[in-house]
């Protein structure tokens, strides 16, 4: 009970810190980095939500792009309000996920990852075909903004939106639905023998996860106002997986920590920007060999090391 209260208090402190942060940060650029981090936290967490069913999607940025382009096109071509197109971006992604979810639900593990990878690449190709609307290689510009041009309102809006999405996802995972999905991940044979409809749950979790990916994509579009061909490419999908794995796949907070660390740290050492891929792969190796539970599992691991060290000494 005490540890629960301690956790609640520390989360509250972090939240207060984040709310007060813009008072101290005068740099618009740093504020921009924080806003992008919030958006990507939604995306990475939704990727982990799908991963609780034992499936790792390598085309998650492809799903983000569906939300992004749907929202952008609806707002730009049809003049709909960005407040409406933001949830519509999420919904459209969810509908696509439901449609592809049926064949996807029959694939497991590496086969799912491979097909989702090709889905991500395929979405980029579709993007090229409809270049009249999407802008193709040259990209899409002048997307209507959500909240004007000042950074500050965006900061608070995306802080709130991220919090809301995380609350939804954490509820999803802790109630019986999450338990059932984790059961399917461990043994789909046993799960179906107690009456759990494996395919339906796989489609469900993919659609819910993709809904949030779509929200993140639409939020990205209405904030940066520019979508380019490279924004949601394969590397973006793989980056999401790296954020998730570095943060720790076994804990809900993992992707939040992973995204925050890997997106904000490179900005603090901007002079070394060319070396980012090397640093990323270095961190990745470190995580795989030293911290299988990721950064989120680090406190527990340190406690464990200390206790074993004391026993030896």
């Amino acid at each position: 009970m005490i540890s629960l209260r301690r956790t609640a208090i520390s989360y509250l402190l972090i939240l207060i810190f984040l709310c007060l942060l813009p008072v101290f940060i005068k740099s618009y650029y740093l504020l921009h980095v924080f806003i992008l981090t919030f958006i990507y936290i939604i995306a990475t967490s939704s990727l982990r939500l799908i991963a609780t069913s034992g499936q790792i999607s390598l085309g998650h940025a492809g799903f983000m792009s569906i939300g992004a382009y749907t929202a952008a096109i609806l707002a730009k071509e049809l003049g709909w309000s960005p407040w409406l197109t933001l949830p519509l971006g999420g919904l459209s992604t969810m509908i696509v996920a439901m449609i592809v979810g049926y064949p996807f639900s029959r694939l497991r593990l590496i086969y799912f990852s491979m097909v989702s990878l090709f889905f991500g690449i395929g979405i980029l190709a579709v993007n090229q075909v409809f270049d009249y609307y999407t802008g193709g290689f040259s990209g899409m510009m002048l997307i209507p903004p959500l909240l004007g041009s000042s950074k500050l309102p965006y900061y608070y809006f995306f802080l709130g939106l991220t919090l809301l999405c995380l609350i939804f996802m954490v509820r999803f995972e802790t109630c019986r639905i999450g338990l059932t999905i984790k059961a399917i991940a461990q043994s789909h044979t046993v799960a179906s023998s107690v009456g759990i409809n494996e395919a339906a749950y796989r489609i469900l979790i993919l659609s819910i996860g993709c809904f949030f990916a779509g929200i993140a994509g639409a939020g990205y579009a209405h904030y940066t106002l520019v979508l380019t061909h490279g924004t949601f490419n394969l590397l973006a999908s793989i980056n999401l997986v790296i954020y998730m794995l570095v943060g720790g796949i076994n804990r809900f907070i993992g992707p939040v920590i992973g995204t925050a660390v890997l997106m904000i740290l490179p900005e603090l050492f901007r002079d070394l920007k060319e070396y980012v891929p090397f640093v990323f792969s270095g961190i990745m190796l470190l995580v795989l060999f030293v911290m299988p539970d990721g950064l989120a599992g680090l406190p527990g691991q340190i406690k464990y090391w200390i206790s074993t060290h004391r026993k030896k000494g």
Binding site: C175, I177, L179, Q186, S187, V190, S192, L204
Partner: protein, 256 residues
């Protein structure tokens, strides 16, 4: 007639795993299904539970055809099963294994679960109580907070039975529940199986261990996918063909 199997056949390539198998199981009691290694017992279970589709033939449950239905739909009709291998959700605790298996009774809708309604909370409370009852019945209540993968083999087997019980089945199919157990565990498990049967659950049990015959009212013997004998345990023990299948021709002759 609870379960009726009519001329069930399954070929794996050119190999007949099950051929023209006819089995009738009446309601109540414990029914045994025995046979040497590779006789097709587990294949029969997988066919009856919808994990694999038969080449031909029919499986009927309470007069309704269930051949080729999906496993989760068959489970919903009230047929539970335990597995010979991979019998559990290893990363869950013993208790969680049962709670997640209480998926059908009572069943909460997704909305109710997500929004934590009063009905959902009541259902979850019932699930917890029911799961604890089941664990007590099979004697696993003392390890309820252990991770299932860390349990000793005998306990894991029991957990498989407990999990099958959680769906409130009318027919329970147990695939070698005694395999790999020591003497005490066998005695204990057999007592638990008997208790479950006393609660009105019909049990079909596949086993190598002949001690199970003491519990059975009726036994089917299969070999090479064909039924070679059926009847009371005593009849089957005397049956020439059964002795031949298990021990070879020489023993069958000396028995006469």
């Amino acid at each position: 007639m609870l379960l009726e199997v009519i001329r069930l056949t399954k070929y794996f390539g050119g190999l007949a795993a099950i051929e023209d198998l006819d089995i009738q199981i009446d309601e109540g009691g414990i029914v045994g299904l025995i046979g040497p290694n590779g006789a097709g017992k587990t294949t029969f279970f997988n066919l009856a539970n919808g994990f694999i589709r038969p080449t031909s033939g029919e499986v009927r449950y309470k007069g309704k055809e269930i051949t080729g239905m999906k496993p989760h739909k068959i489970a919903r009709l009230g047929i539970a099963r335990s597995f010979q291998l991979v019998p559990l959700f290893g990363e869950f605790t013993t208790l969680q294994n049962i709670i997640v298996s209480c998926y059908l009774h009572p069943r909460s809708s997704l909305w109710r679960a997500f929004f934590n309604t009063a009905t959902y909370q009541r259902n979850e409370k019932y699930c917890l109580e029911h799961s604890l009852e089941i664990l007590e019945l099979v004697g696993l209540d003392k390890v309820k907070d252990e991770l299932a993968q860390n349990l000793p083999h005998g306990y894991q087997k029991m957990l498989g039975i407990a999990r099958a019980l959680a769906i409130k089945p009318q027919l329970m199919m147990l695939d070698e529940p005694l395999a790999g157990m020591n003497r005490d565990e066998v005695t204990f498990t057999m007592k638990a199986i008997e208790e479950i049967s006393d609660q009105g659950v019909t049990i079909l049990v596949v086993e190598h261990n002949m001690r199970i015959l003491d519990l059975c009212k009726k036994v089917f013997v299969i070999n090479f996918g064909r039924k070679i004998a059926e009847g009371s345990p005593e009849d089957v023990r005397q049956n020439d063909e059964v002795i031949r299948a298990y021990l070879g021709d020489g023993y069958a002759a000396s028995n006469q």
